[in-house]
Symmetry: D2
Subunit: 367 residues, 4 copies
């Protein structure tokens, strides 16, 4: 066994001599839509994941003004469907993919605007880093959007958004568009040109049914692939993280590492991830904490929710503040450093990797 | 096929003639520890479940004074372990079994008393119909007991109780003692003669980690057979039921039947029952509601938490009020009638029946 | 903690003084169908499983003549249903239970006789230690019974038997009758007074569909709770065990312990046990092998299929030969000793214990 | 709702006016690595899957000579690793992808040649349409390759091939290379430059342990993600299909449709697909049978094993004979027509689509 052996050098050594006969053979391949493995192996089957996607940071201070300007110049409505700016990973151009599996965007809705209803196979969520006043209507159930909330619109649920106020609002969208596009799994259907219910309740029907810890409605015993909870409220997330740190102070096991509280958003019918393709988590670091450098199969996107700190991606440190987003491609080494208490929302394609048994994790200092 | 055919008459018809030779044969069976099937079939394999357990109602107004009197006469401590009075199904005498699978008892703890710690394979819970002031310490985690709370002590967790006040407190215990005794699965171990932590926090560590709806601690990704939540608080149960009835008022699907709200207590790591052998539920009927008569495989015990109404068991109606308990053996027809808003706690062995594929349900008016 | 502490001595120490007041209280309990825990704890919650069932051996040389005599004196037909002699554990008298969960019997069918069709919730199997000539018809599918075969009739499948020859045949039946009787889960329905198909094919339709290793009919993608294979043929079992020992000879991991080959019969739709309540296995020991003494939660029954050896049950050694049966109650220490190559069929209630998380195993010399 | 609405026309209608300001905004997007959704929606989220992959047929009569010629000109050995010609879907150029998820190739090994050992995360199989004489060595276990056999080398198992004869041999390889490349999940490690065992047994150790229908080695109770069976032999496949058609002749339910027998190769530890990402099946049509046109999410590749017939892909009929291969991209309508008895091997990415809940199927004439 020779794990260090370099594909390229080996490939080179093995290539057959370039003769007229070989050229004729290669022509024959081309005519028959065949490509030999031996000319491509290093690219097709790398020693470890070498993503075309690159680590990248987007500054909220740049994103938001562009979204606002779009609000002036670009209408929202049927056809374009959403005023959303996709974060395009520079390594994946010309596709608007933040990672090979995921789409991330800043979406912007002006005062009193409506983004019309539609549904699609793609799983989607919204996370609200600031602002309020918009309701997302999911299959007729209006869900309030407020700071720190995670909202779900799992595959094939009709959904639209409307702004009930005189102020604009921006948030981030996450979807599995790149995965569904490359895998050819997507269906799409237009719904109402308006939203089907303009009510503005504080709590959606899904929350009222499901957000009682450990209690399952007897009318809802069928498990669902995606979570029936439309909105995971900041109030609960914040409290869960606060309690973890307090328990740590009391010497109890509760945090994922010293000074590092974290929760995963889950489907209460199964305890598993909220949607089949997307994992959502929230992390809080105490001031001064640094996480152990990690490499993971699959890709993640983070958004800073509050506090100051930095991310180290493949050895490059970038300072971060509220709203900043960054992407961690597969097997890229990453760690976080907290200057103040540092809160970050994270989403990833880990459920795909785990369901198909491709997940691996390497943590510096662990075997 | 002849479903109506009566076993007894058929058995009778088939018994061989009583000859000296047959008697000699039967003697031979006895000597070899053999019993012929043909003399016992109707009993061994009935047309439908015919439990030796009988429907029965216990009045809280009788239970509580006997528990109080026990408080005067019987000490609590190492050896007897608990001052608990088991509800003994009259059909299962001389065993202290409320059903063939389950034990139910009223437990009583005097002012400043301690019930010492122990652990056992048997799964257990407490439900508090009235009172407060006792803490159950589960593996060192003190859990407050208050009105309307469900507390879990799943199999093989050390647990004890202590009364922090100058007033006595009574509650009900439910365990799978009969199942474990008949199936020979039980282990038992004494722990501390006191409880290991006399602190009296409002919320247990398990609650602080787990009672945030839809949020899973990242440090707790391993599923557990039983729920990690030590106490399911009345505040949440009441709110969940209230919301179901409000949603029903708004024309939304939420209740299990018209005017009948209900929740199942579940393990948040899986969405399944709180323990492998015991299902716990809470039901609320609007005043005037009658449930459809049902028959189910497996047995249930109910306790009235609040309100007035009655239960119909095999056609016999019994009025009920707060604290009253009743047992529904397997395949006995039962229904509830609510005079006022009527709140009931229920536990059953349904997880056993479902895990082993024996569950059947028959509801009057449904096919 | 004090694991060695004896319940009885402790109980004794704790019993309250026998006063007139206490007697009056106990009378009050009786009147209200209550039984105090403190008088019964040691029995209800033992330190470890102490089964009423006892280890016991039945000699085939005694069983078979009694079955044959029954064939002369007792008719088989509707009502009695089966000419079956249940092995009655001496500790469980007067019930015809071989263990607290399981029934085992020798069944006998005379030349040209038919045991009529019926179905029941109880799961059943037949194992053939010798003989041939009978077909079991399961939901209309005739299944040949031959030496060494395991036949399944899972719960609620119609089944009858008919002897197509001029010779009698005997075999053993295993069912979960005690479990279903105590748990009140059983339904029963008579079917045809004859069997519905007197054809005598070599292979049943279930085998023809399913007995191709690793191949699943595309028309059968729905998993089933019990195995769809009606008969597990001796030819396959023997070959599997032979290969394990050959692989062991080649230095490959294949046996469960040195000189001890074993297979579990499984449901090909899931890889799990053949029925929800009964595990079936076949064990082969090389001559001279002794198994490590084991204790397990739950109960087992063995039948010697071929060879000579002995069983050690709680330290008592009993020699065994073809057809002999023995029972191992919960937590009884057992081991096997092989004089010649020693083949044994085993069935147990382990699926119940595992599904409900009560399984524990202790093997001498392992921690 | 307006399912027919065309994305393109709608998009057109909604595009904002092309003004200098808009151009400046779009420049800003570019500078910040942003791409607006409204310019790309139709492509990113189509009404139904519109794969870049196209239906295509490869003729064995063209493939084999090119493979043979490669045998003359191209060495096999460390670096190039395999003399394999990948079927490159014309719609996915320049990638050597037969579908967006799967790789298919014809591999060729000359007399006495060895393809050296390596392992990779990618799941792989071989199917043998003709020939014999090669052994695949999987983790040291030599597996004979013969006509009609399916061989597995699941992810991260070392494997190499060697030809034990004086004749060349060709077969097809299937892997999830495109999926793993796009998702960035692949690891690769070189092993021995030779194979680690040149023995040529008829049956591999995995077969000897596992290929006994319904029998599980007691030493192998841990479920595995991929099948432990190294080779699924043609003898068994043929017999299973033959029995299905015989059962159909007898009026029994066995085939997937009239005249259409089919099996799925499964993992015996679970009853599920052989590997997490690849489904393998074998189909047999009686002469004259036509299958109902189907559309499925996900992609399939077929190889004709024996017989004559044709495939209809999006309305285009292509005649087929032994060895011919064709690809069905996602949501492309396909059906088969059998001139003679028609045997086809099929593999697909259906386990991916099902695990992530994207599977949909539409069959003509069914709702």
């Amino acid at each position: 066994m020779n794990e260090q052996l370099d594909h390229d050098s080996v490939d080179h050594a093995m290539q057959p001599d370039d003769t007229p006969e070989l050229r004729a053979l290669y022509k024959g391949f081309e005519a028959e839509s065949l490509i030999p493995l031996w000319t491509q192996l290093g690219d097709l089957m790398p020693i470890h994941p070498k993503s075309k996607a690159v680590p990248h940071v987007w500054k909220w201070s740049n994103l938001l003004p562009l979204a606002e300007k779009s609000g002036e110049l670009v209408p929202v409505g049927r056809g374009g469907e959403r005023r959303a700016l996709g974060l395009a990973n520079p390594g994946l151009a010309p596709n608007a993919y933040v990672t090979p599996t995921m789409w991330a965007a800043i979406q912007y809705l002006g005062p009193r605007e409506t983004a019309p209803e539609h549904r699609h196979s793609q799983n989607a969520f919204r996370f609200v880093v600031e602002g309020e006043g918009v309701w997302t209507v999911v299959n007729g159930d209006p869900v309030r959007m407020s700071r720190g909330d995670l909202l779900l619109t799992p595959g094939w649920n009709f959904h639209g958004h409307h702004n009930d106020t005189d102020k604009p609002m921006a948030w981030i969208d996450g979807l599995d568009i790149p995965f569904s596009q490359q895998m050819d799994v997507g269906f799409f259907e237009f719904g109402s040109d308006r939203v089907t219910d303009y009510a503005t309740p504080n709590f959606s029907r899904g929350e009222r049914l499901w957000c009682h810890p450990g209690l399952r409605p007897l009318s809802q015993l069928q498990n669902t692939v995606s979570s029936p909870i439309g909105a995971y409220r900041w109030e609960f997330t914040d409290r869960a993280l606060t309690e973890q740190l307090l328990l740590e102070d009391e010497g109890q096991p509760a945090t994922v590492a010293q000074g590092h509280a974290a929760i995963r958003y889950v489907n209460p019918t199964t305890g598993n991830d909220v949607m089949p393709t997307i994992r959502c988590e929230f992390h809080r670091l105490r001031a001064g904490v640094e996480t152990a450098p990690r490499q993971e199969v699959g890709s993640s996107v983070f958004q800073v929710f509050e506090g100051k700190g930095s991310v180290v991606l493949n050895g490059v440190t970038t300072p971060l503040e509220t709203g900043d987003m960054f992407v961690v491609p597969s097997w890229v080494k990453w760690s976080l450093q907290a200057e103040s208490q540092f809160d970050l929302f994270r989403f990833s394609d880990a459920p795909i990797m785990e369901a198909l048994s491709f997940m691996r994790t390497k943590v510096e200092g662990q075997s």
